[in-house]
Every structure is written in structure tokens, then in C-alpha cells.
Subunit: 296 residues, 4 copies
């Protein structure tokens, strides 16, 4: 069990966690710094969303993304940048306007979702492979839009991570691969435990892992209290791992975490199981990623 694994720090996300944990980074500067601290603690990859510095909520402002990316690239700490391309996908049910969604509904087109990735050319990006209930809202990612987005990602040379919230998303990710829309060996990310996606447990990883293409790599994570146990379980099953405040805000019951602490703890779990971490440079070489400065 000595394969090296990639550890992603998902440092902030776009959820309503800012008021629940003051360590959730909000400004581009805070997000970049938390990514850098996570890398120093051992993370191979920093997965970032931008937030609106005023509200703490989601931001689609390309300048916010640019500042995050620039700050990370200008630091002396190496880390692979992975930008979300989930973008605006939130549909808030409303009894008054059932077909249009209620206040807070935020649905972007594929081109809009792709913009931060296409302009900033990070080494990696996510691609959410389907729609699903997400708590009381609906995360919307229609299939033809995904085909368009996958094409844009492919043209950009950025490595997509095919996020699967459930087994049907995995089937569609396989379909994207079959249609030639994903370059090179595909990378899957099983996002587990989300209400209401697939469960976060070993049997589910095992089921999903058995259904990806032979040349594919996978990663998996669990949200909330399953985040840390899933790190060990996933790595022992041969997958890459992810922690961070996007998916879980507690270090242990009742103790709010920082990103660095979560990365620290994950590294400790992996090391105690004799599992080594991949460096950003090793990952870059193995997966033939763009160069850190944006592909030149």
C-alpha cells in the first residue's frame, strides 16, 4: 500500500458556511492564502471557488478568480490549482414561480460557467456531471450543456475532474468519455454523502470504482463527519482524496477546523497507514497537466 495519492484541499466552496465557521476564507486574498497554507500542510491540489467579499456568497466575478489564481501563482508554494466550473447551477424551488425558481436562483449557461477556467487556464477544473437535489434546492447541470462545457474544457487543455454526486452522474461521465469529450485518461471524483446523492461509505466507493473505464483514475470524498474517515478508506481503496472547509467545517465533534488542520489531519491519517502524498510536480508529470502559469 505505498502508492502515492493526490490530496485536494477544497478550501471554501460556495455554501452558506461562512457564518458557521469564521475560518472559511472569503476574500480572494483569504482564499489564496488558505490554499497556500493547505499546500504547505501537504495538499497537492487546491480546489477553489470565488466568493463575494461583501456577502460571503458565491461570486461569478472573473476578477475575483483572477486575484485568487494570481496570488497562488505568485507565492513560493507550489500547488496545482483546480477551479470549479460548477458555476451558477442553483435552482431554488418556489411555489409562486415553479418553472423559474425563486429568489436566489442562479443558473448560468455553459459558456458563463466555463469563463474562469477558460480565461485563467488553471491546471485542473471540476465538471459536475449531472443534476440532483442538493438539500432543498436543485443543482442543475443538463446533459447538453455538459457536452458543451466538456468541449470547452478540452479545447482549453485544462484537466477536468468529473464530479459524480450519484451513480447516474457516473454513467453520464462515462458517456462523455465514450463520446471523446474528455482528453487523456479521465479522472473521476466521487462526491459522497451529499443530501441527496450517493452515500459516503466503502461499499459505494467500491460500486462506483468498479464502473469507471479501465484507464480512469478516481478520487472520493465524504462530506461532514464522513470527510476524515473517507480519506483513509478511499486511499486504501486506491483512490485520491479530498478534505477542506467546502465539504466539512469540523475537525472533530464541536471543534471548528481550518483548512490547514484538515489537511494536516488527513496527512497524518495517510502517513500512519504508510501512504505517501504526491507532490504537485509529480502530479503534473504523471497527468500531463498544463504548466502552473497557465499552460505556456
Amino acid at each position: 500500500m505505498t502508492n502515492k495519492v493526490m490530496l485536494t484541499a477544497a478550501v471554501t466552496g460556495a455554501g452558506d458556511t461562512v457564518e458557521k465557521n469564521p475560518n472559511v476564507p472569503v476574500t480572494p486574498k483569504e482564499i489564496a492564502e488558505s490554499a497556500i497554507e493547505s499546500a504547505k500542510a501537504g495538499a497537492t491540489i487546491a480546489h477553489v471557488h470565488a466568493r463575494d467579499p461583501k456577502t460571503g456568497g458565491i461570486s461569478h466575478n472573473i476578477e475575483h478568480y483572477r486575484e485568487i489564481v494570481d496570488r497562488i501563482r505568485e507565492s513560493e508554494t507550489d500547488v496545482i490549482i483546480n477551479i470549479t466550473s460548477g458555476g451558477g447551477g442553483d435552482f431554488i424551488p418556489s411555489l409562486d414561480t415553479p418553472a423559474a425558481g425563486g429568489e436566489g436562483t442562479d443558473i448560468q449557461t455553459p459558456k458563463e460557467r466555463h469563463k474562469p477556467v477558460g480565461e485563467l487556464l488553471p491546471e485542473m477544473c471540476t465538471l459536475d456531471c449531472g443534476s440532483t437535489n442538493f438539500g432543498n434546492m436543485i443543482y442543475m447541470s443538463p446533459t447538453d450543456w455538459l457536452r458543451e462545457q466538456a468541449t470547452l474544457v478540452k479545447q482549453s487543455g485544462v484537466k477536468p475532474e468529473l464530479e459524480c454526486f450519484d451513480t447516474g452522474h457516473l454513467r453520464f461521465a462515462n458517456q462523455l468519455v465514450a463520446e471523446g469529450l474528455i482528453a487523456d485518461d479521465p479522472m473521476y471524483q466521487f462526491c459522497l454523502g451529499i443530501p441527496w446523492g450517493a452515500e459516503a461509505d466503502v461499499e459505494t466507493i467500491s460500486y462506483m470504482k468498479s464502473r469507471i473505464p479501465e484507464n480512469a483514475y478516481f478520487s472520493a470524498f465524504g462530506i461532514g463527519r464522513m470527510q476524515l474517515p473517507m480519506v483513509t478508506q478511499t486511499a486504501l481503496l486506491g483512490g485520491n482524496v479530498r478534505v477542506g472547509l467546502e465539504d466539512n467545517i469540523f475537525l472533530k465533534k464541536g471543534v471548528l477546523a481550518t483548512n490547514e488542520q484538515l489537511v494536516d489531519q488527513a496527512v497524518k491519517q495517510l502517513h500512519s497507514n504508510n501512504i505517501e502524498l504526491m507532490t504537485p510536480q509529480e502530479a503534473r508529470e504523471q497527468f500531463n497537466l498544463l504548466q502552473p502559469n497557465g499552460g505556456n
Copy 2:
């Protein structure tokens, strides 16, 4: 392997199958007659949607439902009526109005979706336990709306069949059960092979079956060419089964089916495996269903 199974004939659905197979019943009279013929061929349950007699597309007209139900109830053939409560849930992506859906978008509120069930009091109804991509459209069933609908179904005394297109839907169905919103022993329906829900195969049934409550019953079906093989596999795994033109329009490759033929074939498969079918009256007693005339 001598347990009796319930066989549902899903006679029409609401998909665009009318032009593909002229045997798909459209008018209330045709739908009722196909349900009756299916029952004569061995179906325990007839699952019905209404269609617009003029367009062949989906109908939300309560009078269409009433005519279907009345005609079945007035016939001399006994069959349990199962009305969809999926209702208007279709969201058609549009690049021009991304948050509102494009032409053909048809999203009803929970009360509207419940109306045919609440007024006509069939013995059973479906309840689709989540949202998902469904081909290029999105089927929308937000969680709070489902809680409201489940409450209405419970108050009506109708037995809901908890439809799960993927494993996250199953988790939410479990949640409805845990919240006390489902009366008596719950019935799950695993709807498999839908693009883009869970796969139609034995491992998936086995995975899902292992995650329902102990007092629960399950049924499963596959769509398209997996419909008939899944009948046998599901029954041999201890589940109830479903066939019909809603999910599959072919009897075999290149041969368009009728509902009766699909029921016939399913019965033949089950009988050849020594599996007997439950009669409507046996099902009514075992599951404590409403009376066929609407619960009086």
C-alpha cells in the same frame, strides 16, 4: 422461490413514444382498455398516466384521469389502479432563459401534482423521490415539495410507491420514512437504466435492496431492452416487477410490443421460473390498500 410477486403494467407513461409505437394508448378509453387487457394477461397493478387525446402528450386534466379510472373500475376485470403523481416535473434547458426553462417546461406544484390522486383515490400512486437529468431535460422534484406531497398522499390513504431513479433518491425515500411521512410498510420502486439514473443490473438492485428499511418491500424495473431481463432478475432477488409501454416499446429487437404482450412475456418468464403472480385481491389484503372503488 415460490413467493408471489406483484406485476405492474405501466401502460402509457408520458414520454414521446406515441409516434414510435402505435400501440401506446392515448385516449382515456384506450388507456383503460390497455390496463384491462394487461390485467387479463396477469398484471396485478395498472400504472397509468393521462395523455392529451389530441396531441398524445402529457395531460394534467383531471377529467382524463377520471375517465380512465371510471372505465377500469366499471369493467369486470379486477386490477389495482396506480396513478402517477409525478405530474408536471419537466424542465427543458434553454440557453436564452436558463433559470426558467424553455418551451415545453412544465413544472407543477405539489398540490397540483397530487390532484388526480387526491380526487380519485386509487389504491396506489407513485412518488418520484428526487430530481435528476432525464435525457436532455431535468426531472424536478424538490425535497420540500416531496414532503408536502407525501403528507397529502398519507392523508388520502393511498399507498405510495417510492420511485428511486438513483441511490440518492433512495436515501431521500428513507428520509421520508424516517420522518413518518409514509404510512405502513414502505414500498420502493427502483427505476433503473434511465439516462441518467442508476444502471439496470443485478448488482445495482442488490446494492439498493440492501439499503431500504427492514419492513420495506421493493420492486424494480429496467427500461428499454433491459425491461424483460430485469423482470426475471428482480423476481429472483425477491422483488416485485413491472413491464409496459411506458418503459419499453419493443417485445424483441425490431418487434413493437403491446402492453398485453409484454405482460404475457413477463408472466411466461416468471412461470418458467416457478414464480407465481399475486392477484389484485391478494395484494389488497397484504398491503391493506384502499378498496377499488376509492376507499369506501
Copy 3:
């Protein structure tokens, strides 16, 4: 689901079934005739053991095997002959002579077990890949003896069917393959439900199937009342199938079977599920078997 499957009729075995069902063939003539009748009913392969015509018990007499094989080969019915090489492997525990076994213990060396196969050159033979409790006795097949036997089978050109009573046998079968002791694409036979081997159910087939080499074929059967359900389940999972009085003596509860009836019933189940049977000649070509007259 239109792949052709091979159906084996295991016509007699060596168990104590003769007194329980008068249809169990005993003399070489009876065994050959039952094999021929099974082939007429649709069996691709006849799996045979010899019995002592006087006692009905196991026979290691090469002349009994020769008569069975000659009679089948001389008939006008084509069928692939599969001779057991399980031979003498029965160890009957005895408190008086614990290390030597009690009365009825019958342990042959690899060379002795191989003799009927090596002399008569059937197209196929079985190879039991391990030891296990078998009811109250122990079936003994030590690993180094199996390596010797596999080598003899390979030299003979006969196609071995790697019988696995449990998952450890499967691991050792994989080991034989890895050691180069099995020619061509290996064939596994999962022998399920034996007390005390692996369970006869779909999950077990699925587990075992996921652990054979990529170029391998599998077959599976269940004993007793699971024999007939497992035919359908195995074929629907992509495997070849087996029925016959060796493994099950009842057609249905309380009704003693003949081999032909079991084959008939299996064929009926398969046909009702749209699954076709492979002919002996098709199997011969696909698996590059010896010629029916012994390889000349």
C-alpha cells in the same frame, strides 16, 4: 441478452442419491443413455462420473468410464463429454483414526485421479481447486497435487473446468492460471450452495465473477432447490449453466426429476428469457476443444 450459453448436464455424480431418486443413472449404459437424452433435450455438455454398477457408489474403474465414453461417442447425438477428475477425494472423519480417516475414506493420488481423463481424452474435464468440508466429510484436493494434475490435464489437451466451491478455491484457480498451468482462456465453474462452500445467490456469483481473469469464462450452478433459479440468474449475469441429478434430484418440491426433465426445464427458462443455447459444435469451435473422438 442474446449471447449463447453452454448448458451442462451433470447426470449422476458420485453422491448417495441413488436410493433417493431411482432416475439417477448407475451403470455405464444408463449413464451414457442419460447423457444422450440430456443432449437431445438441449444440453451442450454431459458431465459424467462412473458408478459401481453393483453398489451404486463411486467407481474408479477405467473400464466403467470407457464404456460410458464409448457409448456416447457411438451414439448419433452430439454432446461434449466432460469427465470428472475429482476422483477419490473423500476423507471421512474418525475419532479412532483421526489422521487416517474412517471407513469410506477414499483418497487417490493426482495420477490416479487423472487416469480416466488421460486415457479417454474427453473434450473437457473438471478440476476441483481446493479442499473443503463437504457435509460431514472433507473433500481433499491439496495444492501441490492440483499443480500436478493441472500439468497432466494440460499435456493431454483436455479443457479443464476449474471448479470453485468457495472463494479461496477461486484464488487458487487464479494461481494455477498465473503459473501457466492452464492452457488458453480459462473456464471457471462456481459450485454454489454446497455445505460448506460459498452461498448460491446472485451476490456471490457477482463477487466471484469480478475476480476471475479478463480472458476467463465462467459457469455457475446451485445445488438442491437453488439449481433451477440459478440457471436463469447465472445466464442473465453472462455465465454458462449446469443442471442435473448430480446436484439436485427434484424437479419441483416433492417431484423427483430425470436429467432430461431438468435440462428441459432449464432450456425452457432460458428460452423464455430470450437466451439461446450453444451447440456442441459451436462450443468446440469457440473453445478450441479436442475432437469428440478423443483428439485425433
Copy 4:
């Protein structure tokens, strides 16, 4: 994930490891001391075999067992003693005397196997639930002998741990439970990775765990290089764990281990995953075990 787990140190076994690792304890004094050191390092249970101090091989001498048990009981370190009742079960194949085994064959009767347990009344003992190939030899444990042994164990008040080398052993363990031969809530031990038993991986634990009775507890371990990874995986799946020189002699590749080091490492892995260990006294209370001095 904060359930406490029991950690067993299997300090010596009976295999031919003495020449391979000088840390394998041999004399009763060494074995007792290694058990005590393991307990100090965090082990809840010490699983012991006796060895012949002269040869290092297996000993059936009750006085060797007595000295081990006395020394542990007289120490100031609390640990639950678990004595093997596997006893003499080794059958060494011999081409010259196939039915009797060759040199080194050592088959004891149930009464003989039970003797150290019955006389010394440890709190726990093992019970190997079947026969299997074990490398080139056969481990023999016939079913009726197991029924006799289980009865003796039950009468003694000692808690048996039902060792399953493969899935058929698990089925027979379930049978012992069903026959009422196992007192209270049964404890299973999945012994994985043995050539030629079930594989040491997560899917196998998951498969086996799904097939034990509802009131049962399980533990699992892997041998060789899978020992340490399986500790974490098993505990994360809700099972108890085992390490020790009986099953694995290396701390890491090329580095010979001591029992204390293996326990240390297991504790470190568990703690890093936020899993706490059960003390002997907690285990005694939870499982209603005999008192440490032999039940008085």
C-alpha cells in the same frame, strides 16, 4: 466513527516463523511476556498458542499453556486471554499414504483440541469453522467435530471467536449459531488472505459482514503485508481488529517486527482515525466474559 474497538495481539501462532523472525516468542515465558508487552502497548486481547520450547513448533502440552496463562494472570497488566482451540489440524499430503497424511500430520480429536481451553478457562478461545487448503497442507476441522467442540466450549463458559477462513466457514458458523451451539451474541473473526482462503480486502469484509446474524459482532484481519492496512479498513467498517506475529512478521517491507511494534502501529493508525480502543475490563463487561482468573 468513535466506537471503541477491541485489538487482539496474536503473538505467536504455530507456523514456521520462528526461524524467520527471532522476535517470535517460543517459550511459555516469552509468549506470556510478549502478550503482556502487547497489552501495555494497547492490545485488549492476547491470542496465544503454545510452542515446544525445544523445536519452536506447535505444542499440545497443557503445561505449556498453563504456564503461559499463569504468567499472564499473575502479571499486573490486564489483558483478555484468548487461547486457540485450533489444536492439531494439520494434514500433510503424502503420495505414499494419501489417506493418512505424511510426516508432520497432526490431527487431534475435538476433546483433545478443547483441552487447554477446558482446563484453563480463558475468557475467550478461537474456533476454526471449517477445513481448507492452507498452503500445501490441509487444515482439517470436520463439521461434526466442530459441533462437539462448540458444545464443549459452551459448557465451559468461554467466549468463542468463530474463525472463518472463507465464506463457507461463515455459513457453517451461522449454522452453529442456528443450532444453538454458541452462547450469547456470536463473535466472528474473518481470517483473510490465507492461501487458500478468502481475499484480504474491503469488498470481502463487506460481503462477509452482510451475512452474519444481526446480533453478531465481527473482527477481521489480513495476513502478511495486508495486516496493517486491514486494521484501519476493518475498524472503519465497524469491526474489531487483530495484529501480531502469528499473521505477519514485518513492520514494513524488510523490517522485522515485534508484537509490541505491531500493536503500537495499529494503535497509531486507529488513533489517527479517531478510533479508540476498548480496555479489557470494558470488553469483559460488554461481552459478559468469564473473570480473568478463570471464571470464579
